[in-house]
């Protein structure tokens, strides 16, 4: 470390800061009210049905796990590979990683039918269930995050390096495991794919770097600390690489599935039917999530411009949310082919495309928990030495 970076807390007594914290707190409060309503009434107040048992909370959860894994990997890069520019956000990224995973777990657990049985998964383990294994990974992940943070605060460079390696490993494990929750489900064609774990990793890294660009820009801007544009540009170039990989996986997965005649119908439903899901697929996931940001990040006229990189990051953040939607929902909506070659009808939605749209309760719930993470982050900036005093050398 040639020139040591000094970290300090923000003062946090400006009116804007208080307003920001209060408004974040208010939105997350609304989210908890929604969760409480859901718990006391039951799931019928959401738009989930027996055909679509997983709704928006699940989407938000895997989105947040992705952001968390991505930011933890970016944070560890500074220590492990000696990318010193990244050191200025290593602390805040690791803290965000921990908070986001806690938020994701809250989103999952508060969506259980019986969140009061929260201790049951720790007592009864099913080694064959990805959920059960992931519960262990998540616990290990949060612990690693906090130990890693502690080591960074104490400036234990050697330990930080080792923990960074561990953190990268666990982040990949956690997010592959999250992808495997869906990938291992053989009953539904759109879930069953060995490419989901690597796709989850690629999207985690791209959305994680996008989030770091936006969050770092806003944090440094609002706390009036200098931020080197080169850092954002570098993050942007990383993001472009991750986007290419994610786009490649999306391409391979869909082409492989579409090649086999048994999947013609489901792929037609997802890609060319022109319904809500194919629109979200093409416009949201592919257009906004991959193609547009890639265009911005590879165009020599825009890739060096912080404003454009911020815009591309916002696109990626929205696009990856659309991607999570496409991963979770269409597989459940599309009817399972129980009797190949026959049309099935029943009072239980057999043989028809089920309906799902995000209900108000779910929207508040997801948004609230997501905001809660940033509420905690904003508070943490005041109480912990997370931000460097000068980002310039």
């Amino acid at each position: 470390m040639k020139n040591k970076i000094r970290f300090s807390t923000i003062k946090g007594n400006s009116r804007e800061y208080v307003l920001l914290v209060l408004s974040l707190g208010f939105v997350s409060f609304c989210g908890f009210v929604a969760a409480w309503l859901r718990y006391t009434h039951g799931h019928y107040i959401t738009n989930m049905t027996n055909a679509v048992p997983w709704g928006f909370p699940k989407i938000v959860a895997i989105y947040m796990i992705g952001l968390s894994a991505g930011s933890l990997v970016l944070s560890s890069l500074s220590g492990v590979f000696g990318i010193t520019e990244f050191k200025i956000f290593a602390r805040s990224a690791a803290l965000l990683a921990a908070l986001l995973l806690i938020g994701a777990l809250m989103s999952i657990i508060l969506d259980w039918g019986r969140p009061d049985r929260i201790l049951v998964p720790f007592v009864h383990i099913n080694p064959r269930s990805m959920f059960s294994l992931d519960a262990m990974f998540y616990t290990a992940y949060i612990l690693t995050c906090f130990v890693y943070l502690w080591a960074m605060f104490k400036e234990k460079t050697e330990l930080v390096k080792r923990l960074g390696v561990l953190a990268i490993f666990i982040a990949i494990l956690v997010h592959s495991g999250t992808g495997a929750i869906f990938g291992f489900v053989g009953a539904r064609e759109l879930y069953h794919s060995p490419l989901l774990p690597p796709l989850f990793i690629a999207s985690a890294l791209s959305s994680g770097s996008a989030m770091m660009v936006v969050v770092m820009y806003l944090t440094f801007r609002w706390s009036r600390r200098p931020l080197d544009d080169a850092l954002l540009i570098r993050l942007g170039s990383y993001m472009a690489a991750f986007l290419l990989v994610a786009g490649f996986f999306i391409f391979v997965e869909n082409v492989t599935r579409a090649y086999f005649p048994a999947n013609y119908e489901v792929q037609r439903f997802l890609l060319t039917s022109g319904n809500k899901y194919s629109q979200i697929f093409w416009v949201g996931m592919v257009g906004i999530g991959v193609v547009l940001p890639l265009g911005i990040l590879f165009n020599p006229a825009t890739r060096q411009n912080v404003g454009w990189i911020l815009f591309a990051s916002a696109l990626v953040l929205a696009g990856v949310l659309a991607e999570r939607y496409i991963i979770v929902i269409p597989a459940q909506v599309f009817p399972i082919d129980l009797f190949p070659g026959m049309k099935v009808s029943s009072p239980f939605m057999d043989g028809v495309v089920a309906k799902y749209s995000i209900s108000v309760v779910e929207a508040f719930y997801g948004l609230g928990i997501f905001t809660f993470v940033f509420f905690l982050y904003a508070l943490a900036l005041k109480f912990f030495e997370l931000l460097p005093e000068g980002a310039e050398k």
């Binding site: 009434h41 039951g42 799931h43 019928y44 989930m48 049905t49 027996n50 055909a51 048992p53 997983w54 999952i108 259980w112 039918g113 019986r114 969140p115 049985r117 929260i118 049951v120 998964p121 007592v123 009864h124 383990i125 099913n126 080694p127 064959r128 269930s129 990805m130 959920f131 059960s132 519960a135 929750i181 291992f184 489900v185 053989g186 009953a187 539904r188 879930y191 597989a331 459940q332 399972i336 129980l338 009797f339 190949p340 070659g341 026959m342 049309k343 099935v344 009808s345 029943s346 009072p347 239980f348 939605m349 057999d350 043989g351």
Partner: protein, 249 residues
């Protein structure tokens, strides 16, 4: 600590010791193959394998006796809204995609697979296979994560979206909201030596489209039926080894 606990603990202890001493890999694979905790692969497991054959040629479209009987017997929640209604057994109509082909009607229910994907994915091992092959949910343990509903290819599982408030049959528990439920082959009736409610209703209606019995008993009607007519399970290509067979589809 009771006797049962002690026996279980002892068994687990022996398993761990044996595994450590002999071949850790083998035990690990065994543990995974057994689906972890909750399966009854113990030597005391009975040889009974309950199964069912449904003859689609005898089942008529109008008849709803089995579904009604199940609803009444097992307090299956009914709210009059297809999004939330519970279904342990449902009648489906199949129409072949050929011009003018005859459509068939048959009941769909939990197939009590030998390789139940719902049990494999359950994070708390609330779903387990009983000694007689019935796949059951321990609703005392279910956390309501609904992973099993995503994993079941037969859509046999429903979730309790709303608190049902009355018992149609007080002798059988209903469910609180927030857990997943499904057909139990009327395990409580089997334990008393009676037939499942749907089978009884089907026999009473005169259609006699359902045959229920022990798949391992060479003297049983179902055993002979399967031998002679080799009915098929639904989507046997998935390798789940369902124990509900259909003939005439």
């Amino acid at each position: 600590m009771t006797d049962m606990d002690r026996r279980g603990l002892l068994k687990a202890g022996i398993a761990v010791l044996a595994g450590a001493a002999l071949a850790p890999g083998v035990t690990l694979i065994r543990a995974f193959a057994d689906g972890g905790e909750g399966t009854s692969s113990s030597p005391s497991a009975s040889k009974i394998r309950w199964g069912m054959v449904i003859d689609a040629n005898k089942c008529t479209e109008k008849c709803q006796e089995c579904t009604n009987a199940c609803r009444t017997e097992n307090n299956v929640p009914f709210f009059g809204d297809e999004r939330w209604d519970g279904h342990w057994i449902r009648k489906a109509t199949l129409t072949p995609e050929i011009e003018g082909a005859r459509s068939r009607s048959l009941p769909l229910l939990c197939n009590h697979c030998e390789n139940p994907p719902c049990q494999h994915v359950c994070p708390v091992a609330a779903t387990f296979t009983r000694h007689d092959g019935i796949v059951m949910i321990d609703k005392h343990r279910c956390i309501g994560c609904r992973y099993c509903m995503a994993a079941c290819p037969y859509k046999a599982r429903t979730y309790v979206f709303k608190q049902p408030d009355a018992w149609s049959n007080p002798d059988v528990p209903k469910r609180d909201k927030g857990v997943v439920e499904k057909c139990t082959f009327c395990a409580h009736r089997l334990d008393q030596g009676r037939l499942p409610a749907c089978v009884e209703a089907c026999n009473k209606s005169g259609e006699k489209a359902m045959i229920f019995g022990d798949l391992n008993d060479p003297k049983s009607e179902i055993y002979k039926y399967i031998r002679e007519l080799s009915p098929k399970g639904i989507r046997e290509d998935m390798g789940l080894k369902p124990k509900v067979y259909y003939s005439g589809i």
